[in-house]
Symmetry: C2
């Protein structure tokens, strides 16, 4: 096969690369172990019951409609960069002319097996649905529990990590309880419910402007969150969250939002790793010594001076750049200038009609309703596929109009 | 607790009983092992990707909003009818003044362990989603498979059972392939796909008028189904469907729609069982010797001359009757006249704009577009909850307008 580009992964980076190569005189194979693209930034809303799974997951084949793009549902087991071959778990091989590694990151439990075994996390769709089921199951168990101590352990929820995911999920969870408890659980006393957010660093949302961090902390407090800063979770056995300071918390539900690590395949790649296992690439996203291999998105670290964030905008920009480099090698596009990340800004939603937002380029620091409207627009616009957008709107519409959480199914 | 009515199960019967007891001077506890009511008649559309899970499942607490109704998420492990106690799996007991047993039926594999282990079926939500995942996984596997025989075994789908569920699912599956294959699987040759429907009896839809049965057979043939009558599946190992006649079928996917049996708890009840394990009751749905115990829906068999079908309308009617009997014992309602089932008719959907429908009372036998419109109206009207109705409409709307199957997520 001539001009065969293999893309590993169908996250933001993999799909952006495929789209940039669509309708060109090349053949593209997208490989993923799941058959859907996940809109990761809204996954926490699946866990909090605001959205159903189908609203944040789009079938990859629906997206890859162009003739030169094909999809392969399979799991990569290894790479042979010298022979330009991708090995699959099912024993088959796939040869390539250009390879784009966009496998993304997974949850990093920092080697703590108790936490890895008992905690919930927000990386994949089944994990988000399992967390939602656990939250609702905890309310059901608590509503039948006569023992105060046991009941409070069911009604205590601990979020480890005060970054974007931790803060957004914390707000969504408090909002869920505010709506759901009086309506569906009259047996429960809302004052017995507690939501803790533990942050290892000294501030929440460390990447944000101090004014927005202060606003976030005030809002979280007002919503009823119990914030502990400079606090690490050391262990969890399903009943007790052990912390390095401030005492343990009796809780059945620990949500781990305290770090990611690169896809395990990355350790098999040659060369040094930086910034927690990421792969240094040149300013054309190429792996050192292998100009036909591109590393995209979460996995890529700048070999130069830039500090690249593990966010969707970077994933998309890195993928588009790599696609242009690939096309230029076959004279199908102009060679691009060296890659520079353009930061479009960051947003964190803090609940109904509330968010913080900063756009460094324009020196914008927003919070409150205006920031929330912008967030809504950006997210709806970004979600792939008309049907998903309609479904998301319907879910949110019923949610906000009828003040009801829409998804309460306990799946086991 | 005074006037405490315990309802086991939250299917059509259990919920109808609870609703009939709402706002009365009684306390009602609904017990179920899952936290949602399942709209069973449309479950096959979850398996065929026409609807998502949330469209056919409504949280029970959302339905039981009245002050005198409460919900208990738990699994019943046993009954003590003489002491009026329900034992739960978690070790707790629940005492009652009146008991309504509405636990419904489960799939009957007729003791064939190979089939029970390898076949898919359409009784619960996880099972329907597992079947959908298997169908889509089969298409993915086939699209990477070079060996013709193996590929055809992935592309061969066998439905055992030619009653309502079997016929409706068969049509939905053929429709799914008609839409999905040319659009999303250009690698696959649609002529290699085969859908078989095996029926043990000599006709499809045995309960229907011969003219509608004939129409159904013609339509199924036109859609491309391979019909085998008087054919039983004898065994299945995940690769080969062994039949009593006509030869084996190499297939990876067997869908079992060939019979149901009562909930296992029923065997612990005193007295004889009839009609495949169902419980004979008097014409007030009462268990013989236990006038405080009512048996509803699928589990109930007439002790008299009537032949009660295991369908939603009977479940609802039996539940409303029992609720009135219960209320009348406390002078909260007039004593009802003996129960008589009023058959509202039956409908089977045969695909886009096509159905058969018969209403014996009015001597109506319809087929085609008019029957389909009636079917759509009846089903939408029946689905519990505004939000589910809107979601179902959206799902169907996008499905029919854009000719697209809407749910293609492979869950594992």
């Amino acid at each position: 096969m001539n001009r065969h580009i293999v893309i590993l992964g169908s996250g933001f980076a993999g799909l952006a690369a495929a789209k940039a190569l669509a309708d060109k005189d090349v053949t593209v194979s997208v490989v993923d172990s799941k058959n859907y693209h996940l809109f990761q930034p809204l996954l926490y809303q699946v866990a909090s019951g605001d959205l159903d799974a189908e609203a944040v997951a789009t079938p990859i084949r629906r997206i890859l409609k162009k003739r030169n793009l094909r999809f392969i549902l399979s799991t990569v087991s290894g790479l042979n960069l010298d022979r330009r071959i991708v090995h699959m778990e099912d024993g088959t091989d796939l040869s390539y002319d250009k390879l784009m590694i966009a496998l993304g990151s997974s949850t990093n439990f920092h080697g703590k097996t108790g936490i890895a075994h008992h905690a919930y996390h927000l990386k994949g769709l089944p994990e988000a649905e399992a967390l939602r089921s656990q939250i609702l199951l905890a309310l059901e168990r608590a509503s039948r529990c006569q023992d105060l101590g046991e009941r409070q352990s069911w009604l205590s929820f601990v979020i480890a990590g005060g970054g974007t995911t931790g803060v957004e999920f914390c707000c969504a969870l408090l909002e869920l309880f505010r709506i759901l408890l009086p309506r569906d659980y009259p047996e429960l006393d809302p004052t017995e419910v507690s939501v803790h957010i533990l942050q290892g660093e000294s501030v929440l949302l460390p990447g944000f402007d101090p004014s927005l961090r202060a606003y976030t902390k005030i809002r979280l407090n007002a919503l009823g969150a119990q914030i502990r800063l400079e606090t690490h979770v050391e262990d969890f056995d399903g009943l007790t969250v052990q912390c390095n300071r401030g005492g343990s918390i009796f809780s059945r539900t620990l949500v781990w939002a305290a770090g990611v690590m690169p896809h395990p395949l990355v350790v098999t790649l040659p060369g040094e790793k930086v910034h927690g296992g990421r792969i240094p690439v040149n300013d054309h996203m190429q792996l050192s010594g292998y100009p036909d291999v591109f590393v995209l998105g979460d996995l890529a670290a700048s070999g130069g001076m830039e500090d690249w964030p593990q966010v969707a905008p970077f994933a998309i920009q890195s993928a588009r750049h790599a696609a242009q480099v690939v096309l230029s090698t076959w004279n199908l596009a102009r060679a691009p200038t060296p890659f520079r990340y353009r930061d479009p800004g960051s947003m964190v939603v803090l609940g109904r009609y509330d968010a913080v937002c900063q756009i460094p380029r324009w020196n914008v620091k927003w919070h409150g309703r205006g920031a929330w409207m912008l967030w809504l627009f950006v997210h709806l616009y970004s979600i792939v596929g008309t049907r998903n957008r309609a479904l998301t709107l319907l879910d949110w519409g019923t949610d906000y109009l009828f003040h009801s959480a829409v998804v309460e199914l306990i799946r086991r």
